[in-house]
């Protein structure tokens, strides 16, 4: 770590140009925080997009306030954007922020209290509050500086408002572009690309709006040029592949289009809704529609009705919505109607943490419905996979005539990162509907004795007329009145999962195939886990990891893999009891959701380390936790 000077003269006046220190970094994490509505997110988005376009690895995370319209200048109101920039690919949000730019000291305090800032972080903060006419505000500033001084931060006051007022009347609308200018100077970003991005951001506004924003940007750039004595150089590395940069919800929306699906039925719910925002904008030109239903239940029902009558449809929701849909999910599974359901997980239970990430819907997704309701559950691990998983989900739903749940989460949904541009293939859209004439006497479910698979019959096909029923039924969709039918039909529905599992290969191990400890994860934690494994291995520990995409059916071959390690630990973003907590014993300990499943399916004594911090896991935290759990007698 290159050292920063301990003390800094507050730079003043445009005339005193300083000779900057250039810090070369493999990666750096920067964030912009403000009160809600001051545009910090927009500033961060542009910074992130331009960094990606320049060839840097990028992972961005939204900092979302707990309230919709929080009062100004309170720590709970901190809203913003965090960007981790690297020379190589960046797979997760990292550990702590190295440079923060704050519009007031209270939001900065919030970040400090969350442990979000590195001990040696550089903090640029609007300084007008120090001299504010309101004595309480001045006092708050002093108290905040006092609290911040407990760490080795380097604080640089910035007269943002004073500077902005030279150009605009209302600095609340414009500070963000000034901030962008400062960051562009400090990080040496390509100004032409930024101006292009500003033009794109304000494409629906007038030319004057664009010009004003560019002027503010340039002023911020010039101010940093003259007043900030540090430059951070994270060298870009041009990728050989064409790349796209988007968030996970956008990837799901575009993946759905690529898969050829053309009906999305939904009800607004955070953090899933933005999938439908993008689709609502573009879907119709692809021949598709977004149906905003009257409630979550109806959204599921409409998707099921549409799927039953033709090409598979999908619905997008989050935890509380999943809960409401469960009766319909059972209906679709019982009647073997294909359906794709995307659950963008948030903190739960109940309303929980609507904007924050969690992986605690796994059990709800697996069990979904009362009664025995076998269905497929898959989880993309990266934003790129959010795109591609939709094609597979549709195909599996139609092949296996069942519900396919796709578990994403708020980290994937709102994080943004560049990935290899997908090369859409017409085969992805293939309609596997067999429209050839239905032979007379064909039954509604001609279950194959081996696989349980059967041909779908669609309304409109002569000879196929049958009444689908959610009551237990036989091959002919006749209500089960005799004993044995329910056993047989349950077996046919269940068999399909065994068949799918037989097609899967054992998952690859990241790192050595044997060792002291194997970390197992699923979903959005892959990047953080693998980065932690890299660090642990660099420290000489024999740690590997394994990431699961198929959770129902469970991926095959796990037990032999587990047996090559002394210890297996899941790392998850959900709640589990800690051993040693009052009343908690090994017997009654409630474990992480994946850990529970793995114990059941492998009979291996799988341990877990899980947290519900309302934010993505930090690789550093995983490193610490794993070190703590290394088996006795292991290396080091």
């Amino acid at each position: 770590m290159p050292m920063l000077t301990d003390t800094v003269e507050a730079p003043t006046g445009a005339a005193s140009r300083v000779r900057p220190t250039v810090l070369k970094k493999r990666e750096h994490t920067v964030e912009i925080v403000s009160d809600s509505g001051e545009g910090a997110q927009r500033c961060g988005q542009i910074f992130g997009a331009v960094s990606a376009k320049m060839g840097n690895g990028v992972w961005t995370v939204e900092i979302i306030p707990a309230e919709i319209q929080p009062p100004a200048r309170i720590p709970e109101g901190a809203s913003g954007y965090r960007i981790r920039v690297g020379t190589g690919p960046v797979t997760n949000w990292g550990d702590a922020t190295n440079l923060a730019l704050a519009f007031n000291e209270q939001v900065l305090l919030a970040r400090h209290r969350l442990n979000a800032l590195a001990d040696d972080a550089i903090l640029l903060v609007e300084d007008k509050w120090a001299t504010h006419e309101d004595a309480d505000i001045r006092a708050a500033w002093v108290a905040a500086m006092e609290e911040l001084s407990t760490r080795h931060y380097r604080i640089i006051p910035v007269p943002m408002e004073v500077e902005c007022l030279r150009l605009v009347d209302n600095p609340r609308k414009g500070k963000n572009m000034f901030a962008l200018g400062m960051l562009a100077r400090i990080y040496g970003r390509d100004t032409d690309r930024i101006k292009d991005q500003i033009a794109f951001t304000f494409r629906k506004k007038s030319e004057d709006v664009y010009k004003t924003n560019v002027e503010l940007f340039e002023r911020g750039f010039a101010w940093a040029e003259h007043n900030v004595d540090v430059r951070i150089d994270v060298a870009p590395q041009q990728s050989a592949d064409a790349l796209v940069v988007m968030n996970g919800n956008e990837a799901i929306a575009l993946g759905a289009i690529a898969s050829g699906m053309d009906l999305c039925a939904m009800y607004p719910i955070t953090p899933a809704t933005s999938v439908s925002h993008l689709l609502s904008e573009v879907f119709e030109k692809f021949g598709g529609i977004v149906h905003q239903a009257e409630d979550e239940i109806a959204a599921c029902g409409v998707a099921i009705g549409a799927s039953y009558a033709g090409k598979v449809a999908f619905t997008v929701t989050s935890g509380p919505g999943l809960a409401l849909k469960t009766e319909f999910l059972g209906a679709a599974i019982m009647t073997e109607i294909p359906l794709v359901l995307v659950d963008v997980q948030r903190g739960g239970p109940s309303t929980g943490l609507p904007t924050k990430v969690e992986q605690s819907d796994l059990w709800a997704a697996l069990y979904a419905s009362p009664g025995d309701a076998p269905h497929i559950v898959i989880a993309p691990a990266t934003i790129e996979e959010c795109f591609h998983v939709m094609v597979t989900a549709r195909r599996l739903a139609e092949t296996f005539r069942t519900v396919v749940m796709v578990l994403s989460d708020a980290n994937l949904a709102t994080g943004m990162t560049p990935f290899k541009r997908p090369a859409p293939d017409a085969a992805w859209q293939a309609a596997p509907l067999d429209l050839s004439a239905v032979p007379e006497g064909t039954k509604a479910y001609q279950w194959d004795a081996q696989t349980g698979l059967s041909r779908r019959i669609l309304p409109g096909q002569a000879n196929g007329m049958y009444t689908l029923t959610t009551l237990s039924h036989d091959e002919g969709s006749k209500v089960a009145y005799s004993s044995g039918v329910h056993q047989r039909s349950s077996a046919a529905r269940s068999r399909k999962l065994a068949v799918l599992q037989s097609l899967l290969s054992p998952p690859p191990v990241y790192g050595e195939a044997s060792g002291d400890l194997l970390v197992v994860g699923w979903g959005s934690t892959k990047g953080a886990i693998e980065e932690a494994v890299d660090r642990l291995r660099a420290d000489g520990l024999k740690v590997s990891s394994l990431h699961l995409r198929f959770l129902s059916p469970m991926e095959p071959g796990l037990k032999p893999i587990f047996q090559k390690f002394k210890k297996v630990v899941t790392v998850e973003l959900n709640y589990s009891d800690e051993v040693g907590d009052p009343y908690v014993t090994d017997e009654n300990r409630r474990r992480g959701q994946l850990a529970w499943l793995l114990r059941a399916s492998t009979l291996v004594d799988v341990d877990c380390w899980t947290r519900v911090p309302g934010e993505p896991l930090r690789p550093g935290s995983i490193v610490d936790a794993i070190k703590d759990r290394m088996p006795k007698g292991g290396a080091k």
């Binding site: 690529a258 898969s259 021949g287 898959i378 993309p380 996979e385 591609h388 998983v389 939709m390 094609v391 597979t392 195909r395 599996l396 092949t399 997908p422 293939d425 085969a427 992805w428 293939a430 309609a431 596997p432 067999d434 429209l435 050839s436 004439a437 696989t451 698979l453 041909r455 068949v499 037989s502 097609l503 899967l504 290969s505 998952p507 995409r549 198929f550 991926e555």
Partner: protein
């Protein structure tokens, strides 16, 4: 021909029904090609196809060979059937290759409007036959003696009810003197939609004779209302006429009575000279027919009648009717 801005305007207004027909063609083509490929395919090709449909996420984790084995295999077709399938595919490819041209026709000098429409529809009818052949072959039900004729163009008279409902719109460019509504009447069925783009002197209300309770009829001089043709759930006729022609729209969903359905926005004077085969009397008769249909009743029907407008002859159509009657020397009856 397709570069005519009015043709472009009509194609744009009729985008949805055209796209629906195109999708139907594509669906049939895709299924037939897949079936043919299956006949010739070796194992690796089958597996590669299965893997492709799984997408990247699935292909990376799912064994494509075993996945392919789960897909219901295509039945084996004999050589005669496969030959028929290939011919059917040729027809469908030909249609596909025509692009928008499939939906646009032109009445050249000396040709008859009716014949041009019939030929355009016969060509489209060929697609239906070809589609059915692909399905018969796939289902192993193709019998040459019985089904061979399906691979010939099919005049509209032979179309089934469903085919008439699946008919795409046809846009016809025609000279004014060649417009004869009676040539078109027999196509008022299913979802057939015919749009005439008319050049040169033309009778002022050539489509008035096509108004029947369930047929959408539109005359326009600027293309306004063509989008309603696309939306109407039934047969429709429209004409984009030179300026000065009568303009009206007859929309069956608007009510039970002719005056509820018909909105006349302009009625010109009857031409003083014959146009093409149309005499001045015939053209006046068409204008009168239009005015008659548009005229609101004077007396509110007995209890239970639909909400007829209040009494009075202030309605524009009534005034037009009075004027027309005066023109023809038959005034005094109102």
């Amino acid at each position: 021909m397709q570069s005519d801005p009015r043709v472009q305007q009509a194609l744009a207004a009729l985008d949805r029904p055209i796209a629906e027909f195109r999708a139907l063609l594509e669906g049939a083509l895709r299924q037939a090609e897949l079936f043919l490929a299956e006949q010739q395919a070796d194992e690796p090709a089958r597996v590669a196809r299965a893997a492709a449909t799984l997408g990247q996420f699935g292909a990376a984790r799912i064994d494509a060979t075993r996945f392919a084995a789960l897909q219901p295999g295509a039945s084996r077709a004999d050589k005669t059937s496969l030959d028929a399938l290939r011919r059917a595919l040729d027809v469908l490819h030909q249609m596909h290759a025509r692009g928008d041209g499939l939906f646009v026709a032109e009445v050249v000098e000396g040709a008859k409007l009716g014949a041009v429409v019939e030929s355009a529809l016969s060509f489209i009818g060929w697609a239906f036959g070809a589609i059915i052949v692909t399905d018969l072959v796939r289902g192993g039900r193709y019998v040459p003696a019985e089904h061979e004729s399906l691979l010939d163009p099919l005049g509209f008279g032979g179309w089934s009810r469903s085919e008439r409902r699946a008919a795409p719109p046809v846009i016809v460019r025609v000279a004014g003197h060649a417009v004869r509504a009676t040539d078109l009447a027999s196509y008022a069925d299913g979802h057939v939609k015919l749009v005439l783009i008319v050049d040169g002197a033309c009778a002022p209300a050539p489509l008035a004779r096509l108004i029947t309770p369930g047929t959408f009829v539109l005359q326009t001089t600027d293309g306004a209302g063509l989008d309603r043709v696309a939306r109407f759930d039934g047969p429709a006729f429209a004409a984009v006429l030179p300026p000065g022609a009568a303009t009206f729209v007859h929309d069956p969903v608007l009510g039970r009575e002719p005056w509820q359905r018909l909105t006349v926005t302009h009625i010109p004077e009857a031409p003083k000279k014959a146009i093409g085969a149309m005499s001045t009397w015939q053209m006046l008769e068409e204008l009168k027919q239009l005015a008659d249909l548009a005229r609101t009743p004077f007396v509110v029907p007995a209890a239970g009648g639909a909400g007829a407008p209040a009494m009075g002859a202030s309605d524009a159509a009534d005034r037009i009717a009075s004027w027309l009657l005066a023109q023809s020397g038959l005034g005094g009856t109102t």
